[in-house]
């Protein structure tokens, strides 16, 4: 998802809120003697909780934005766009003043994105996982660190299977700190291929070791 999506006014309620916040920020901007107020700026672009789900890329953190001087340029461009799009009610209908044009803002934002530092993704821990057993919808797993420490837990069996991780099979598991939240990656460790010859050799050994006469005729 592109971060500028958050700027698009998508409902009447949103439009009202945007207008209110726009005035509030400009007021603060003037009251502070034109000094750039980064928390306010960031608030206008703050994503919702939904945007922080696993599937989305991460927005720049507050520190990263304010540490860059070009953030001020972006702020000014955003303010210009918001002013241009200031809404006014006419006969119960919401209309925009002027043509809605975010192109300038998008260009500025794209340029800025290149200059922003990349958020470091930290691998917190790596495990070798093992699916002990699947009972109904629950997969019982054990995670072992390279120091031999083991954790055990449960996970949705359907999600494990969807990733190709089956019962009595190993998988790689990494916990990752994305800067804003922690997530994990699961990846199956592929099975070793056993050739037909190898399988035949195992069976032959078993025949020698166990014999064929383990039948009821020897039972008591």
């Amino acid at each position: 998802m592109q971060r500028h999506d958050f700027l698009i006014t998508h409902s009447r309620e949103d439009a009202r809120n945007d207008r209110k916040w726009s005035h509030y920020r400009l007021h603060n901007f003037n009251m502070s003697g034109g000094r750039f107020s980064s928390p306010d700026w960031f608030a206008s672009f703050a994503p919702t909780d939904e945007d922080f789900s696993d599937e989305h890329s991460e927005p720049p953190s507050l520190d990263q934005v304010t540490s860059d001087p070009s953030a001020k340029l972006l702020y000014l461009e955003a303010m210009r766009s918001l002013e241009r799009d200031r809404l006014q009610p006419t006969w119960g209908r919401i209309q925009q003043m002027g043509e809605k044009d975010y192109e300038g803002l998008m260009v500025a934002f794209k340029e800025l994105r290149h200059t922003l530092p990349v958020i470091p993704v930290t691998v917190l821990e790596e495990f070798v996982g093992f699916v002990e057993q699947i009972v109904g919808e629950v997969a019982y797993v054990t995670l072992t660190t390279n120091t031999g420490e083991s954790l055990y837990g449960e996970y949705a069996a359907s999600e494990m299977k969807a990733k190709g991780i089956m019962e009595r099979r190993r998988f790689k598991c990494r916990t990752i700190d994305t800067g804003t939240h922690v997530k994990f990656d699961l990846e199956p460790i592929p099975d070793r291929h056993i050739s037909e010859e190898r399988e035949r050799a195992i069976l032959e050994n078993l025949r020698n070791e166990l014999g064929d006469n383990d039948g009821p005729q020897d039972d008591y």
Partner: protein
């Protein structure tokens, strides 16, 4: 229904010792006649027999011969370490789950071995090797005519040998039923292609369907050893047995206290619908599977005079300790309910001693075993 004698020997007693450390279980029986027997065996370290709690317990008591050794079903938490018993003790009778004989047993062993090689997991690999070792040692004993094997199915007398339905001390099986064995064999057949090549392993829980269940009787005393008998196995047993057959003084709870380890009406039958003294329940937790479950515990509690457990386990009310790195571990606890697996191999022991009138004359808990 079998006849039950009243003992005249007041010093004779039946001892049951149940071991567990959070994975796997072992049960040692001392018969009233002084013979010893073992039902299942588990040790985590296969290369060190001195850490095998079952073997050490028997050695400490100077036991060199086992009248019987029972392998309830082919799960490693019930057979790991059994080869050490077969190697170091003289086993006279070996009882095992029914349904797989000769080439079928080879197929089961093949499926375990190939599966282990495919997964490249050292623990599975060692378990598969242990299963083959156990079966190999049984064959060796049979070849040398020092050991006799019995494949257990349905309701049948296993002890004494030869069978004596009027004996004061008897051991009977009540599971697996023929029905469960047939289903198991069918399922195992699907693990192979038509030309006999291994296709995929049997789902892990399927092996429970052939679990042996035992009734240990001494006069008026009855102890039920549930193995890992699952709900369908219990349903078959309830249909086959008269209610009085299951009246128990003590019960080794089946399948580590899982929700699938009992069926409607089972515990009512075991406890005689509360018209008699309630049985003592012995539980062997399986921490990795979150067993026993709270549901099973609540159910058992209604029908048991007390619950003894061999070791500590995580109850749903205790969130568990979170260790560093905190961010990662907190996340895993939220997402997977992940808990730290104790590396302690501290086997607890629950011991009960019964006379032939159904009286528990001694009970002992060796830590971390405790009463709930």
């Amino acid at each position: 229904m079998m006849a039950r004698k009243t003992t005249t020997n007041t010093s004779a007693s039946l001892e049951i010792h149940v071991f567990g450390a959070g994975k796997g279980e072992s049960i040692v029986l001392r018969c009233p006649g002084g013979e010893w027997g073992v039902v299942d065996c588990y040790t985590s370290l296969l290369n060190d027999s001195s850490s095998n709690p079952t073997l050490q317990f028997l050695k400490d008591r100077g036991v060199s011969t086992l009248e019987f050794l029972c392998l309830t079903h082919p799960h490693d938490d019930h057979f790991r370490g059994m080869s050490q018993l077969l190697e170091q003790l003289h086993v006279k009778h070996f009882w095992r789950f029914s349904g797989l004989a000769g080439r079928e047993l080879q197929r089961l062993a093949l499926s375990l071995k190939v599966d282990a090689e495919q997964s490249e997991d050292p623990y599975i690999s060692k378990s598969a090797d242990e299963f083959v070792s156990v079966m190999q040692l049984v064959k060796k004993g049979r070849d040398a005519k020092t050991l006799r094997q019995k494949m257990v199915t349905g309701y049948q007398q296993l002890f004494p040998v030869p069978v004596d339905t009027s004996a004061e001390f008897q051991i009977w099986s009540f599971a697996p039923s023929g029905n469960q064995v047939a289903k198991y064999e069918e399922a195992l057949a699907t693990c192979f292609t038509e030309d006999g090549r291994f296709r995929n392993a049997l789902p892990h829980a399927h092996h429970n369907s052939v679990s042996v269940g035992l009734l240990v009787r001494f006069g008026q005393t009855c102890i039920v050893l549930g193995g890992d008998v699952e709900r369908s196995g219990w349903q078959d047993a309830l249909e086959e047995l008269q209610p009085e057959h299951l009246l128990a003084n003590a019960v080794k709870v089946s399948h580590h206290g899982s929700d699938t380890g009992y069926t409607d009406g089972l515990w009512q039958k075991l406890s005689g619908n509360k018209k008699k003294k309630l049985p003592i329940a012995i539980l062997v937790p399986y921490r990795r599977f979150g067993l026993p479950t709270q549901t099973a515990l609540d159910h058992i509690r209604q029908h048991a005079s007390k619950i003894m457990v061999t070791c500590e386990f995580d109850q749903s009310t205790t969130p568990g300790r979170v260790t560093a790195p905190l961010k990662s571990r907190l996340f895993l606890r939220t997402k997977l309910r992940a808990r730290l697996l104790s590396t302690s191999q501290n086997y607890g022991r629950c011991t009960l001693v019964y006379d032939d009138s159904g009286n528990c004359i001694k009970s002992e808990l060796i830590k971390p075993a405790h009463e709930l």
